[in-house]
């Protein structure tokens, strides 16, 4: 469980996040949605401590994350996996070396055990046999999957994904969503996902929070999305004329 409590973030004069309070549950896919520039990435970085909030607190279970020293933060991060918006794979290392990096750094596994663990997560993301490819030699979608593999290789308790399926075709996007959902349920992970993909919202939105210009304007789950009369939510979801027409047609019938 992770909780943000009255979190604010400004860059100089620019107030990017205003008074955000929200709880992310374990074993659930928690989605943060919002338009480009709404502050999703900044919020995720606050949650993992890559940026410090201007005001407010962040709790991991009952530990105040914002008050911890460097060593304690690192201790918590042993349990954290993160998929970056741009994957952030180490480009001079192969797929296998990327995924093995956390194992090399933090475990005393034998090379055989590491190899097995790498193969296991590679299989989990449907990338068997790509061990020796460099990030520049695989597609964007494959990079995302390697990123996911790397972030789950140490069996995290918390998983953060910044737009896991942006820039992917709908089918691959769906696969990645399913993958994240399954991993979350299987290991009872507290998963937080940034997205503006409506398919993800309707597909894996156990808990959904809408950010609008740095403010939290709506929370709910995927079955509450359609019925909501929150204007900001409606205008976010029915941004495309195609969906608007579908909705209007449905309303006219009904």
């Amino acid at each position: 469980m992770i909780r943000a409590e009255n979190v604010y973030k400004s860059f100089d004069e620019n107030e990017v996040l205003k008074d955000i309070s929200i709880t992310f549950e374990a074993g659930k896919t928690n989605l943060i949605i919002g338009r480009s520039g709404a502050g999703k990435t900044v919020f995720l970085k606050l949650l993992v401590g890559l940026m410090q909030p201007t005001k407010g607190k962040i709790w991991y279970s009952d530990v105040d994350f914002t008050s911890l020293g460097k060593k304690e933060v690192r201790q918590i991060r042993m349990d954290v996996g993160m998929l970056f918006q741009g994957s952030a794979l180490f480009d001079s290392l192969t797929t296998e070396e990327n995924i093995r990096f956390p194992l090399d750094m933090f475990t005393n596994m034998t090379s055989k055990e590491k190899r097995q663990q790498v193969d296991k997560v590679l299989e989990r993301v449907n990338l068997e046999g790509s061990n020796d490819k460099y990030p520049s030699e695989i597609s964007g979608g494959m990079q995302k999957r390697v990123g996911i593999a790397r972030s789950i290789v140490l069996n995290p308790k918390y998983l953060f994904c910044d737009e896991p399926n942006s820039g992917l075709d709908p089918k691959t996007a769906l696969l990645i969503d399913e993958l994240i959902k399954d991993i979350t349920y299987e290991n009872n992970i507290t998963t937080v996902i940034n997205t503006h993909d409506m398919n993800s919202v309707m597909g894996i939105g156990d808990n959904i929070a809408l950010l609008y210009m740095g403010q939290l304007v709506w929370t709910g789950n995927k079955s509450e999305v359609m019925g909501s009369d929150n204007e900001l939510l409606q205008s976010f979801i029915f941004a495309s004329p195609f969906l608007q027409r579908l909705r209007d047609a449905a309303l006219n019938k009904g």
Partner: protein, 254 residues
């Protein structure tokens, strides 16, 4: 009034941040084997990668010094073999440590700043932080250690090559025989000068790696800023090397 205080304020800010970074860099490694691997890689990079340029520069340094002194001492009542002695001490005290390190700041320093800066911009550093890695330690300490081992070796090598360069030039000029030159290189030898050479090369190696890593580690923005950081790494390293050269000279010859 404000603008007068700005420069010292900035200097203090950078100095403080540099000290903090160094404190984090020289923490206990998470895993010695990973650091060790990185140290070896860096030693190879710095050492093998710089031999050719060190040889080139040193040969000419020695040769130019010899020709210059032959010219200056021409017609004076100073024995010819003094040329060997002068070239040797010039190489050991000044040109081998200082010029080699100035050149290495341009080659190794800019490279380190660009490598670390690129990792910062591509979020590789963030990705490592999320895993729980002490990035200041893992990215900086092996480079500094490798430099402290390899650069003094390069400096010794440079001194030998410079003396050889002096030999070639002297004998080539026909002004003195090889025997005379060698007699010079074996006269008036002060072991303390060799100590000074080692002190200088250690101090310079530390300065050029840490300053360059500092510049790279805190880079922001994009490729323009990366280029600037890499240039500044060289400029600041060079200034600090010359400043340290002066201070060491005052202290160790006083």
């Amino acid at each position: 009034m404000d603008f007068i205080l700005r420069a010292p304020k900035r200097l203090l800010f950078h100095f403080g941040r540099y000290l903090l970074l160094m404190r984090n860099a020289f923490n206990r490694p998470e895993k010695w084997s990973m650091y060790w691997k990185e140290i070896l890689r860096q030693m190879d990079d710095i050492g093998i990668g710089s031999i050719v340029i060190v040889v080139l520069i040193s040969v000419f340094m020695g040769a130019v010094a010899a020709i210059q002194f032959i010219y200056q001492l021409d017609g004076q009542l100073i024995p010819k073999y003094y040329i060997g002695y002068i070239v040797r001490d010039l190489a050991i005290i000044e040109s081998a440590p200082t010029i080699t390190c100035l050149v290495l700041a341009g080659k190794v320093g800019s490279n380190m700043a660009a490598e670390i800066g690129g990792m910062r911009q591509k979020e590789h550093i963030d990705a490592m932080e999320i895993m729980g890695v002490n990035t200041a330690g893992y990215l900086i300490m092996p480079k500094v250690v490798a430099a402290l081992v390899v650069i003094p070796m390069l400096v010794v090598f440079s001194a030998f090559v410079a003396i050889l360069g002096g030999y070639i030039a002297s004998v080539g000029s026909g002004e003195l025989t090889g025997g005379e030159y060698l007699r010079g290189t074996r006269s008036f030898f002060l072991p303390n000068n060799v100590n000074m050479m080692f002190v200088k090369s250690l101090v310079f190696a530390f300065l050029l790696t840490t300053v360059s890593c500092y510049k790279g580690y805190f880079v922001k923005g994009g490729s323009v800023e990366l280029g600037e950081a890499s240039t500044q790494a060289v400029v600041y390293s060079n200034i600090l090397i010359l400043l340290a050269d002066y201070i060491i000279a005052v202290i160790l010859t006083g």
